[in-house]
C-alpha cells in the first residue's frame, strides 16, 4: 500500500466512519466522532502533503478498481492544500462546536429544536467533511457529482438546524439552489459523456474538449457551480443561509463548503478545458469584480453581525474569480503567481472567515443578540474573540502579516506581469472596502458608551478555537513557502 493509498483512505473514510459513530445520541460518542474525524483528516492530509511533496501527484484506485468502472482518486498539490486547510478549519470548528452545543447535549432534550441542533450537527458535519475530502481527491466527473450532492444536502441540513423561521427558509432556498446547481453540473457531465465517452478528468484533458457540445457542457456546469459558489449575481441565497446557521455551521459553510464548488470550477476550466477561452475567463473575472464591489457595499450596509460577515464572503469569493483571467493571459501560457496567489487567497479566506464567524459566534453567544449595536463594548469583555475577528479582518483586507496579504501580493504581481490594469484597481479597491466593513464591527466592539449588561460567559475553548484560526491565517502570512510549493505540485494542468 503506497502512502497515497493509505492516507487518502484515512482522509475519506475517517470522517465517514466518524459520522456514523456520531449518529449515536450519546454525548461521549458524539465527541468521539468529532475527535476521530478531526484526527483522521489532520493526520491523513499531513501524510498526503508529505507524499505529494516527495513524489509529486499520485493516484489511488479505490479497492484496486481503476477507471472507467472503479473509483479512482487523484492526489495533487491543489487538492492536498485544500484538504489540509479543510482539516485545520474543520478540526478547530469541531473543537468549537463541542463547546457550543456541549451544554445542550448534556440536557438530552432530544425533541426540542435546540437539542436537535446539538444532536445532529456532528454527524451532518462529519458527512459534509467526507464529501469535501472526496471532492478534493476525485479524479472523475461523476464522482465529483456524487460528493457534490452529499455536500449540498448535508450543508442545507446544517442550515436548518437553527431554530428560527428565517433559517428554515434560507435552508430551503439553499437546498433548491444546490440541487439545481448539481443537476446543471450533471447535465454537463452527461453531455461530455455523450461526446467523449469518458468521465476521467485525465482522459478528458488528454482529448482537449472543444466544439459546441463541450462548450454547452462547460457553460451548464459553470452556471451550476457558480450558483453553488454564490458567484455574483447568484449570491442572494448565501447571506441568509450562512448567517442563519448555528455559529460553527456558518464557519463551515462560509469557509469550506463554497470552496468545494470553486474547486470543481477550477478543475473544469483549467485542468480539463485547458483554460477554455480567454473571453470566458474574463467574463468570470468581471463577475468576480462585481462580487467584490457589490458584496462589500452590501456588507457595509448590514446591521447584523453575521450577515455582514456573510456578505463579506460574497465579496471575497469574487477575488477567487479574478484569478481566472489572470491565470491564462494568453492560450497555452499560465501564470504561476496568479495560481498561487488566487489559491492562497482561497485558503486564507477559509481560515480568516472561519475565525471571524466563530468570533462573531462568541460575541453573539455572550450578548445573546446578533445586531452590531448590541456588541458594543464587547472588545473589553472578550479580548480574544475581538483579536480573532480583527486578525481575520486583517487577512481578508490583505494587510500584512497575513495570508491574505501574501495572496494579494502574488495576485497583483500576476496582474502586473500580464498587464491587466483593471484587475489591479479592483483588487486594491476591494481591499479598502473590506477594511471599511471590518472596521465597522471593530468600531462597535470598541465602543465604550454602553457596556452590555447580560453577559453570558463564553467557554475558553470557543475563544481559543477562533483565535487559533486567526493565528493560522497570520502565520501563513509569515511563512507561505511550503504551501506555495505544494500548490505548484501539478499546478493548474496536472496532466
Amino acid at each position: 500500500m503506497t502512502e497515497f493509498e493509505l492516507w487518502s483512505t484515512v482522509v475519506i473514510f475517517g470522517p465517514l466512519l466518524a459520522s456514523v459513530v456520531a449518529l449515536s445520541a450519546r454525548p461521549a460518542l458524539l465527541r468521539a466522532g468529532l475527535v476521530l474525524g478531526s484526527l483522521s483528516t489532520l493526520v491523513g492530509s499531513a501524510g498526503l502533503w508529505r507524499a505529494v511533496a516527495l513524489y509529486g501527484p499520485g493516484r489511488h484506485p479505490l479497492g484496486g478498481w481503476g477507471q472507467p468502472l472503479g473509483i479512482e482518486l487523484w492526489i495533487d498539490g491543489f487538492g492536498v492544500a485544500m484538504l489540509a486547510v479543510t482539516a485545520l478549519v474543520g478540526a478547530l470548528t469541531s473543537l468549537y462546536a463541542n463547546s457550543y452545543f456541549g451544554d445542550l447535549s448534556e440536557l438530552s432534550v432530544r425533541d426540542s429544536p435546540a437539542g436537535r441542533g446539538a444532536r445532529f450537527f456532528a454527524p451532518l458535519w462529519l458527512l459534509l467533511w467526507t464529501a469535501l475530502n472526496g471532492i478534493y481527491l476525485s479524479a472523475d466527473l461523476f464522482n465529483l457529482y456524487v460528493t457534490l450532492e452529499i455536500l449540498g444536502l448535508s450543508a442545507a441540513a446544517i442550515v436548518t438546524l437553527a431554530v428560527s423561521r428565517q433559517a428554515t427558509v434560507a435552508g430551503m432556498r439553499y437546498l433548491l439552489v444546490s440541487l439545481i446547481g448539481s443537476l446543471l453540473y450533471l447535465l454537463g457531465v452527461a453531455l461530455l459523456y455523450v461526446q467523449y465517452g469518458t468521465l476521467s478528468l485525465e482522459g478528458l484533458a488528454a482529448i482537449g474538449p472543444s466544439g459546441p457540445i463541450p462548450a454547452i457542457a462547460l457553460a451548464a456546469m459553470t452556471v451550476g457551480m457558480a450558483a453553488k459558489t454564490a458567484l455574483f449575481p447568484f449570491h442572494a441565497w448565501l447571506p441568509p443561509a450562512h448567517a442563519g446557521a448555528p455559529a460553527p455551521g456558518s464557519a463551515i459553510l462560509s469557509a469550506l463548503v463554497v470552496k468545494g464548488s470553486f474547486f470543481i470550477l477550477v478543475r473544469l476550466w483549467f485542468s480539463v478545458y485547458g483554460g477554455g477561452s480567454p473571453e470566458g475567463l474574463i467574463l468570470l473575472g468581471v463577475l468576480g469584480s462585481g462580487a467584490i464591489l457589490w458584496g462589500s457595499i452590501l456588507a457595509l450596509r448590514q446591521v447584523s453581525l453575521k450577515r455582514l460577515i456573510a456578505y463579506s464572503t460574497v465579496a471575497q469569493l469574487g477575488y477567487l474569480f479574478v484569478m481566472f483571467p489572470l491565470l491564462i493571459p494568453e492560450p497555452r501560457l499560465w501564470n504561476a503567481d496568479a495560481w498561487t496567489g488566487g489559491l492562497l487567497l482561497a485558503i486564507s479566506h477559509a481560515l480568516a472567515k472561519a475565525a471571524m464567524f466563530l468570533a462573531a459566534g462568541n460575541m453573539s453567544y455572550a450578548v445573546a443578540e446578533d445586531r452590531l449595536t448590541s456588541i458594543s463594548g464587547v472588545a473589553h469583555r472578550l479580548p480574544m474573540s475581538f483579536f480573532a475577528f480583527g486578525v481575520g479582518g486583517l487577512s481578508l483586507a490583505g494587510l500584512p502579516p497575513s495570508a491574505g496579504f501574501v495572496g494579494k501580493w502574488l495576485l497583483l504581481r500576476s496582474a502586473f506581469e500580464t498587464a491587466h490594469w483593471t484587475w489591479i484597481a479592483v483588487i486594491a479597491v476591494g481591499g479598502l472596502l473590506t477594511i471599511a466593513y471590518v472596521l465597522k464591527v471593530l468600531r462597535y466592539a470598541l465602543d465604550r458608551d454602553e457596556a452590555p449588561e447580560d453577559f453570558r460567559p463564553v467557554p475558553r475553548r470557543m475563544e481559543w478555537a477562533a483565535a487559533l484560526l486567526a493565528l493560522a491565517a497570520m502565520a501563513l502570512g509569515v511563512r507561505a513557502l511550503e504551501l506555495v510549493e505544494l500548490l505548484l505540485v501539478g499546478g493548474p494542468f496536472p496532466w
Binding site: L218, G276, S277, E279
Partner: protein
C-alpha cells in the same frame, strides 16, 4: 601662563553658563543671585592678563562641541572683551543692589547670566557658528531682561524686540550659510573667512551672490547694532528694561552687532557698494538719532537714541573696513576705540538714571544734595560722548576722522563736514539728556513725597557707577594700550584737531542750554514730541490694517465644499444603494431564469469563439 589663559578662555563664558544650572535646583537661585554679579571676573581677568601681541593669542578648541567650536582672543577681541567684561561686572553689581527687593530677581539674574554668557562667548568665538551660537544665546536671553517688568509697555517692547531679533537672526543665518557653503564647512574668523569671500567674489562657489551675502550679514547684525531703519526696537526696549539691563544693552550688547560686522565682513576683499551703504546709513543714522532723540522726554529714551546715533559713527568705521583693504588696520583701531569709549560712557550714563531714581533723600528734607552730584558725574561721560578733546570720545572721533581722511575723495569731502555738524548734534542730545535727567530726579522725589527715599543699599548702586565714570574719565590714557594697532599705523595724538573737536561741543553746549533750559521764547515749538520708536507707529498701524482672513474659516469652508462634493457623488450612487438594500433576494422566477440562461448562453458563445 598660557594654560591659565586657555582655561580663562573657557571660563569667561563657561562660568556664567554653568551658574545657570543652579536654577535647576529648588533653592539654587538664591546662591545664583549672589554669584552671577561676579561671574564676569574671569573674562575681565583674561582681558587684562593676555598680552595682546600678535601670534600669541590665547585660544581654545573644543572639537567635540557643536560643529567644532573654537575660541581665541585676538587684539580686537581683547578690546571688546575688556569693556564688555567691565560693563557686565559693573552692571551685575548695580543690579544686585537695584533688585534687592524685587520678587522676580531670580528670573532676572537667570536671564542676566545667560545673556552675559552669550555676550562674552561671542567676543571670544573664533568661528562662524560659535559666534552665531553665542549671538543667538545673547539675543534671546536678553528678551527676559527687556520684558522683565511684565507690564504692557514691557510686553510691547519685548514683542518688537523679539520680532526684530528673529528677523535679524534669519538674515544673518542666510548670510552665514552663504559663507559656509563657499568653503564647504564652518570657516574660522580671519584667514578662512577671507578665503570664503574670495571664493564668493570669484563666483566659483555655490553660495549666494557676494553682494547679497554682504547685505544679508549687514542687515542681520544691523538689527543688533541698531542702524536706521533697523533700530526700531532700541528706543522701546531701553526705557522699559531695568537700568542695569539698559546699560548693558546699550553699552555692551549692541556692540556685538558691530563686532559681528568686523568678524564676518571681509577685510581683504573690497565691497565698494556695501561700503557706500554703510557710509550713507552711518551718517544718516548719526543725524537721525540726534533728531529723534532731542524730541524725547524720558532720559533713557534720549540715551537710546544717542546710542543709535553713535552706532552710526561706528558704521562709518565699518564702511572704511569693507571699503578698502588698505584702510582696514586704521578702521579696526578706530572701531575698537570707539566701541570701548562708547560702551563705558553709555553704561555710566544709563546707570546715572537709576541713581537718579534711587539716590536717598532724608525724610522731610528739601535739600537734595545728590541731584547735583549725579548731574555732575553724568556730565563727565556726556562730555566724552560729545567728543571733547582729551576725552576718550575725542580720541575715538579723531581715529575715525583719520580713517576718513585716508579714504579721501568725494566721500571725505562730504562726510567730514557732516561729522562736525553731527558732533554739534550729539552735544545737544547730551544736554537734552542732562535736562531730562534732572527732571526725572525731581519726579522721583515728588513721587516719594515727604517720606523721602530710603538710602539702604545705595552704596551698591553708587560704586559701580562711580567706577565706570572714573574708568571712562581716564579712558584717553589707557584705551590706546588696548587698541589693536598695526605696525604701520599710529593712533592720533590726544590733541590732534582740538579745535575741530572743541568747537562743536562748546557751540552745542551753549545752544543746548540756551534753547532747552531757557527756551521759553521757543513757545509751542518745545512741545513737539516724537513717540519712542518713531517709524514703528506707522508700521504697526499698517500691519493692523492688513486684512488677515481667518484660516480655520477658510479651511472649514473648503472642507464643507468638499463634503458637498462628496455628498453629491453619494447621491449619484443613491439608486445603486437603494437597490443594494433589496439586493437580488427578491430576484426570483423570471429574472433569475434570465440570469441563468443568459450567463450560460454568454459562456457558450464565448467558449465557441
Amino acid at each position: 601662563m598660557e594654560s591659565t589663559l586657555t582655561t580663562l578662555v573657557g571660563l569667561a563664558w563657561g562660568v556664567p553658563l554653568a551658574l545657570c544650572l543652579l536654577w535647576a535646583f529648588p533653592s539654587g537661585h538664591r546662591l545664583g543671585e549672589r554669584l552671577v554679579p561676579w561671574s564676569a571676573l574671569p573674562a575681565l581677568l583674561l582681558a587684562l592678563l593676555s598680552g595682546g601681541a600678535e601670534g600669541s593669542e590665547p585660544g581654545l578648541a573644543l572639537p567635540m562641541l557643536f560643529t567644532g567650536a573654537e575660541f581665541s582672543l585676538d587684539p580686537l577681541g581683547r578690546a571688546f572683551l575688556l569693556f564688555t567684561a567691565l560693563l557686565w561686572l559693573a552692571g551685575g553689581w548695580f543690579a544686585a543692589a537695584y533688585h534687592r527687593t524685587d520678587p522676580r530677581s531670580g528670573a532676572f539674574f537667570l536671564f542676566f547670566a545667560l545673556t552675559m554668557a552669550g555676550n562674552l562667548g561671542l567676543v571670544l568665538a573664533a568661528d562662524l557658528l560659535t559666534f552665531y551660537l553665542f549671538f543667538a544665546l545673547m539675543t534671546f536671553a536678553a528678551y527676559g531682561l527687556v520684558a522683565h517688568a511684565r507690564d504692557r509697555p514691557a510686553r510691547r517692547a519685548g514683542r518688537i524686540y523679539i520680532v526684530m531679533a528673529v528677523l535679524g537672526e534669519l538674515a544673518l543665518l542666510s548670510g552665514l550659510l552663504s559663507l559656509g557653503v563657499a568653503l564647504g564647512g564652518v570657516p574660522t574668523f580671519g584667514v578662512e573667512i577671507e578665503g570664503s569671500w574670495r571664493l564668493l567674489e570669484g563666483g566659483d562657489a555655490s553660495g549666494l551672490p557676494i553682494l547679497a551675502t554682504g547685505l544679508l550679514l549687514a542687515i542681520g547684525l544691523g538689527v543688533k547694532a541698531g542702524i536706521v531703519p533697523l533700530h526700531l526696537w532700541l528706543p522701546l526696549a531701553h526705557p522699559v528694561a531695568p537700568t542695569a539691563a539698559s546699560a548693558l544693552l546699550s553699552g555692551a550688547m549692541i556692540k556685538a552687532g558691530l563686532l559681528g560686522w568686523v568678524r564676518v565682513l571681509p577685510e581683504e576683499t573690497a565691497l565698494p557698494v556695501l561700503a557706500l551703504g554703510f557710509l550713507g546709513m552711518g551718517v544718516f543714522t548719526a543725524f537721525y538719532g540726534v533728531l529723534m532723540g532731542v524730541a524725547q522726554d524720558d532720559p533713557k529714551t534720549v540715551l537710546a537714541y544717542s546710542s543709535v546715533s553713535q552706532m552710526g559713527y561706528m558704521a562709518i568705521g565699518v564702511a572704511l573696513l569693507v571699503g578698502d583693504p588698505a584702510l582696514a588696520p586704521l578702521a579696526l583701531a578706530a572701531i575698537a576705540l570707539y566701541a570701548m569709549h562708547h560702551g563705558l560712557a553709555k553704561g555710566a550714563l544709563f546707570l546715572s538714571v537709576g541713581l537718579a531714581d534711587r539716590a536717598p533723600l532724608a525724610a522731610g528734607s528739601t535739600e537734595d544734595a545728590w541731584r547735583y552730584r549725579i548731574l555732575a558725574g553724568a556730565a563727565l561721560p556726556a562730555i566724552a560722548l560729545a567728543g571733547l578733546p582729551l576725552t576718550s570720545g575725542g580720541l575715538a572721533k579723531n581715529a575715525l576722522k583719520d580713517g576718513l581722511g585716508e579714504l579721501g575723495g568725494v566721500h571725505y569731502a562730504v562726510v567730514d563736514p557732516l561729522l562736525l555738524v553731527a558732533a554739534f548734534g550729539t552735544t545737544l542730545l547730551m544736554v537734552r539728556f542732562l535736562v531730562t535727567l534732572e527732571r526725572r530726579r525731581r519726579d522721583s522725589l515728588a513721587e516719594a513725597g515727604p517720606e523721602g527715599i530710603d538710602g539702604s543699599g545705595f552704596g551698591g548702586l553708587l560704586l559701580p557707577w562711580a567706577g565706570l565714570v572714573g574708568i571712562g574719565l581716564v579712558g584717553a590714557a589707557w584705551m590706546g594700550i588696548y587698541t589693536p594697532v598695526a605696525e604701520d599705523t599710529a593712533l592720533p595724538g590726544l590733541l590732534d584737531g582740538w579745535l575741530a573737536g572743541l568747537a562743536p561741543v562748546l557751540l552745542g553746549g551753549l545752544a543746548g542750554f540756551t534753547v532747552l533750559r531757557r527756551g521759553e521764547w521757543l513757545g509751542s515749538f518745545r512741545s513737539v514730541r516724537i513717540p519712542a520708536g518713531d517709524l514703528l507707529r506707522p508700521i504697526e498701524w499698517a500691519i493692523q490694517r492688513i486684512h488677515r482672513p481667518d484660516q480655520e474659516a477658510v479651511i472649514d469652508g473648503l472642507a464643507a465644499a468638499g463634503g458637498r462634493g462628496i455628498g453629491w457623488i453619494g447621491r449619484l450612487f443613491g439608486p445603486a444603494l437603494r437597490l443594494a438594500d433589496h439586493d437580488l433576494k427578491s430576484a426570483r422566477g423570471g429574472p433569475l431564469a434570465v440570469l441563468v440562461f443568459g450567463l450560460a448562453l454568454a459562456l457558450v458563445v464565448l467558449l465557441l469563439r
